[in-house]
């Protein structure tokens, strides 16, 4: 009940501060634009087909072996490969969104000096942090689902037939809806931890680089052919993120000590 009351406040506060969502909207736009640019617009403008290039032979081979995409023609298979490849960018949507919201949420309370009155209420640290985390997590996931729908719609409208369906493979869905939320949770918990030690939301947001860098590494690794984001790899990353989240939760609660907050936060 108390967590819900504070969560409602968090969401109402965010609705009044839509500027917080600008970085996420930009990241989402780029995530949708990149595959369209690489898989559709550039070949169209250049008057060439992707399947004419030997660079994508691996993609064609890979898709020929999968039951869901076996029927795709070579051009569609390459487009599906590129859309799946850039789907990793969608992970950045909940990460940037939750970081920006969580950092504002905690540092904002410090700046408004609204935390002490809140701590006087019977709310527990778990309830308070829970509301803060959910307050950042819920809108982040709404944005992620929204952008995934736009991503699918774009593929359905602009790419060759069958590409959009190919995106519903466990690999893409797992990347966006398992890795994304877990990476977002890790990022926002980091932001909460750092927020309890700094007075500037931007400083708290910068810690997100520790999450963004591995995601960018995944993207570059795939591009260089060093990594294939398979279901097996996604499962291992998921397990790693679960451990990281559990540790961060403990650290967050330990750092969010009421006495420390009241006596040292200035």
């Amino acid at each position: 009940m108390r967590m819900l009351a504070l969560l409602r406040k968090e969401l109402a506060d965010e609705r009044q501060n839509l500027a917080l969502f600008v970085p996420t909207i930009i990241v989402g736009f780029v995530a949708v634009l990149l595959p369209v640019l690489v898989a559709i617009i550039i070949p169209y403008v250049a008057g060439e087909r992707l399947s004419d290039s030997s660079d994508f032979e691996v993609a064609v081979e890979m898709y020929r072996n999968q039951p869901a995409t076996r029927t795709l023609d070579p051009e569609a298979a390459i487009q599906a490969y590129l859309f799946q490849f850039f789907a990793v960018m969608l992970v950045l949507i909940p990460v940037t969104s939750s970081m920006s919201l969580a950092a504002y949420s905690v540092v904002g309370e410090k700046q408004a000096r609204s935390l002490e009155p809140l701590l006087v209420t019977p709310i527990t640290t778990f309830e308070l942090l829970g509301a803060k985390v959910l307050g950042a997590f819920v809108p982040s996931m709404v944005l992620t689902v929204g952008y995934f729908a736009i991503y699918m719609l774009t593929a359905a409208v602009l790419a060759r037939p069958g590409v959009a369906w190919a995106l519903l493979a466990p690999r893409t869905v797992g990347t966006v809806f398992v890795l994304g939320p877990l990476a977002a949770l890790a990022a926002l918990q980091m932001a909460v931890c750092v927020s309890s030690r700094v007075n500037d939301a931007r400083t708290a947001q910068q810690i997100g680089v520790f999450v963004i860098l591995p995601v960018a590494g995944l993207l570059i690794g795939q591009l260089a052919g060093a990594i294939q984001l398979t279901v097996f790899l996604i499962t291992w990353i998921t397990l790693g993120l679960l451990v990281v989240n559990a540790i961060l939760m403990r650290v967050g609660i330990a750092l969010f000590d009421r006495e420390t907050i009241l006596t040292r936060w200035k």
């Binding site: 009940m1 108390r2 819900l4 009351a5 504070l6 409602r8 406040k9 109402a12 506060d13 009044q16 501060n17 408004a112 000096r113 609204s114 935390l115 002490e116 009155p117 809140l118 701590l119 006087v120 209420t121 019977p122 709310i123 527990t124 009421r258 006495e259 009241l262 006596t263």
Partner: protein, 308 residues
Amino acid sequence: MGTQALTAQHLTRHFADRVAVDDVSFELEAGQIFALLGPNGAGKTTTLRMLAGLIAPTSGSVRIGGEAMTPQAAPKLRERLGFLTESPGLWDNLTVRDNLMVYAQLYGMHDADKAVSEALTLFEIADRSNDRTARLSKGLKQRVALARAIVHRPRIVLLDEPTAGLDPESARDVRELIVAMRSEGRAVLLCTHNLDEVERVADRVAVLRSRLVAIGTPGELRRQLFTSRLRIRVSQDAESFAAQLRSSGVSDVRADSPWLSVSEGTFTTPHIVRMLVEAGADIEAVERDEPSLEDVYLKLLQADGATR
């Protein structure tokens, strides 16, 4: 009066090697305004936070309605407390009503809507209930913060510098609201260094400088430190009557025409007046020369400084 709402016993708090609060004990009764006075850094806010269970004392204890404030009991006991922090700390993006509503829900009130409406009415801010608090003046923000402090109908209210930074009119309004809280039978602990405010509203006063320097009603503190004096205005030269009073045995007589000032020791006021009338004085005014609370406060701190 007389019901103990809150008891602090030997409260001590250290921060590393600094002693912020040292062996402080007092009681707060229902229907009473108790003022905690002290210079900056005297430990007032730390004391309030210990009373509210926000920080733990290094030693000593706090009891709310007889129940000990322990980390386990704190969340439950805090439901009986209202706490106005030094800064209003409102959520600027939310409306006045929403600010109060969240707090009413955090305190688990079943009739949150009704409680919020009551608080808005009591603090005369119902007409601003749909305004975002960012748009309010400092005085109005303080009203909202006060309304928030009592929205869950606590019997004990802790107020940290409630009129700090307010213009005289807003400060007077806030004082009236504090007096209204006492009228409703709440125990009010007022933490301030505004002596005028204390003079106007407090029933009991404690002077704090890490440790308790003095405690009592304003009258008791005055009597402890200053002898009661009478000021008498005469239409003639005051010096001649001063000499007559001295010869009659009245002690510590001072003359500063047209005023005579005498110590109320062995002679009562009517007796002194009669002596002057018999001596031919035309008395224009008689008043008790009471030292201000500021005089009392400064003398207490001076005496305390000398003993450290």
